[in-house]
């Protein structure tokens, strides 16, 4: 056993603790954590958006110690643009085939205690890292994610996603966080403890939703995951049905794959097992009921059954408007509300396909197709 590794780091730790206490009193503990933070930005043909992402990272109130852009063998100028911005660019020998692969490739080079994953099309509020890092003061927390708001809110799909996120992050995730079980630590912006992440093999590409897989794996190992609503990020969401299709295909298959993979392990998680069971039931029953049941009932019994498509408008609208009011975006939210319903139909369609393909036909989706 190495004495210095026992004695010296302890001494160092004592000094650190002292310094931390001092900084805690001066309110800059988060700065210490950010100094131990490496950011991984997986990028494949992200020349249009990488500049905004890197600039947003560099302009943080507590800039990270290191930013690694993983150029996953792009065919455009992503690597050159990132290099010109002064950040480190690493390139795998061949395309890793998925976001998870690119992130795990860079994870081997991380020397800091904390590592952050951010999508190459995502920007942050200037204090996002500072706020998110705060929860790691608790040694039982292994991951934390923030509030996600679409950067552009123009098309019907972007507006629908805007409402969906406001609903989910203003209400559902906050409730889940109080039970210490956010369903997922969003892959587009999350911070993790490096040692814990390495121990469970980094981001796995065994499912299409690597962030859900990772979150549930952390729960199974007894770690806590936190949701910090004050830390806001802005990804670019699909503006067209073509892009949306790729994303929803990944998400829906990813959800089903993760339930299949983790269900036995999740049975030990009291609150989470109920959330996942109900979510899975919804995922199986809602699509056929929405796409087939309601139109049939409206046609055969009474047209009023079409109200079923919008019956939960008040349930959705209230958290959305509350969330939008906090952000000063009530008008945008009101205009966007109606777009939530076509998006939900699209969700239903892709979830129906995923359930049939994964569970009935037993043909899992294995190829990661980049959308947004």
């Amino acid at each position: 056993m190495e004495k210095t590794e026992k004695a010296r780091p302890c001494a160092r730790r004592d000094r650190r603790d002292g310094a931390r206490e001092h900084r805690r009193s001066s309110g800059s503990l988060r700065a210490v954590l950010a100094d131990e933070l490496t950011v991984i930005v997986p990028a494949y043909n992200e020349a249009d958006s990488i500049t905004d992402t890197v600039k947003s990272l560099l302009s943080q109130t507590t800039p990270p110690y290191r930013i690694i852009v993983v150029d996953d063998c792009s065919t455009d100028d992503t690597a050159d643009i990132a290099s010109d911005l002064g950040v480190e660019v690493v390139t795998p020998p061949t395309n890793t085939g998925s976001k998870a692969g690119a992130q795990t490739f860079a994870l081997r080079q991380v020397e800091t205690d904390y590592v952050m994953a951010i999508d190459a099309d995502t920007t942050l509020e200037t204090n996002a890292i500072e706020l998110l890092a705060e929860v790691f003061d608790d040694p039982t927390v292994a991951a934390a994610s923030g509030f996600v708001v679409p950067r552009h809110v123009h098309t019907v799909w972007e507006r629908g996603r805007y409402v969906e996120y406001l609903y989910s992050f203003s209400f559902h995730k906050r409730v889940q966080d109080h039970y210490d079980k956010p369903l997922i630590s969003s892959g587009c912006f999350s911070i993790y403890r490096t040692d814990v992440l390495c121990e469970i093999g980094g981001w796995s590409n065994r499912t299409m939703a690597e962030d859900m897989d990772l979150t549930w794996s952390l729960y199974e190992r007894g770690w806590r995951v936190r949701f910090v609503p004050e830390a806001v990020c802005y990804p670019i969401e699909p503006h067209s049905l073509a892009f949306l299709s790729k994303q929803l295909r990944r998400w829906s298959h990813g959800f089903v794959q993760n339930v299949r993979l983790h269900w036995r392990g999740l049975l030990g998680q009291r609150y989470l097992r109920s959330v996942v069971a109900i979510g899975f039931f919804d995922a199986i029953v809602a699509p056929p009921l929405t796409l087939i049941g309601l139109p049939l009932l409206a046609w055969l019994v009474n047209p009023w059954f079409l109200l079923g498509y919008v019956i939960d408008l008040p349930v959705v609208a209230i958290p959305v408007l509350v969330g939008a009011r906090r952000r000063g975006e009530v008008r945008t939210a009101m205009v966007s509300l109606v777009s939530y319903f076509p998006l939900r139909l699209a969700n239903c369609w892709f979830m129906l396909r995923a359930v049939v393909t994964e569970l009935v036909l037993r043909r899992p989706l294995l190829v990661y197709e980049k959308g947004h």
Binding site: R8, H178, F281, V301, D312, P314
Partner: protein, 183 residues
């Protein structure tokens, strides 16, 4: 509800009930402050759900097809909320039963990734001295491991040589010496 997963309403109902019982849960003071707005929000949503349901029931009840009143309250006049609650309890019951019957089986994880040496473990070699002790270890294996780590991370420019040496006591030390001094 999670983004991308369509909701039938059970997820929303479960979240609503979870929020409504939050004040009854024992929590720290910081979190308790955050519970109040969430609880109020859940109350407002509940009121909106009940209100909108009453409105729809009234509309449908008075304007059925061909002027005939239609009940959408479910079979035998059971309110839809009761049906939803029953369904939700049944799903939760299935999960609880599975927990008891099937038991817990941890999900296998991929192989661990070898971690890079932490930045804080790096050695700062002195500028003005010819040698420095970088570690004292209990056994040779630990000393060799530490020396390898220091070689890889801190003295890769070739100006220092890392030496493992036994000391007078039972410990093994790892020294770093300037190459010029070694010569």
């Amino acid at each position: 509800m999670t983004a991308g997963v369509p909701g039938l309403g059970l997820s929303g109902l479960f979240a609503l009930l979870s929020a409504l019982v939050l004040p009854a849960l024992p929590r720290g003071s910081r979190r308790r402050r955050q519970v109040v707005p969430l609880f109020v929000l859940a109350l407002v949503i509940t009121a909106a759900v009940l209100g909108s349901w009453e409105l729809i029931s009234a509309l449908v009840g008075t304007a059925g097809r061909d002027g005939k009143a239609v009940s959408i309250s479910g079979q035998a006049g059971v309110p839809i909320l009761v049906i939803s609650l029953t369904l939700m309890c049944a799903v939760i019951g299935v999960a609880e039963t599975l927990h008891l019957v099937v038991g817990l089986t941890p999900t296998p994880t991929p192989e661990a990734i070898p971690t890079a040496c932490r930045r804080r473990d790096r050695v700062r070699l002195p500028q003005h001295r010819q040698w420095a002790i970088v570690a004292r270890c209990d056994d040779l294996d630990a000393a060799v491991q530490r020396a390898t780590q220091v070689r890889a991370m801190d003295v890769s420019d070739g100006r220092w040589r890392v030496v493992v040496a036994a000391t007078g006591s039972s410990e093994v030390a790892v020294y770093a010496r300037r190459v010029s001094a070694v010569a």
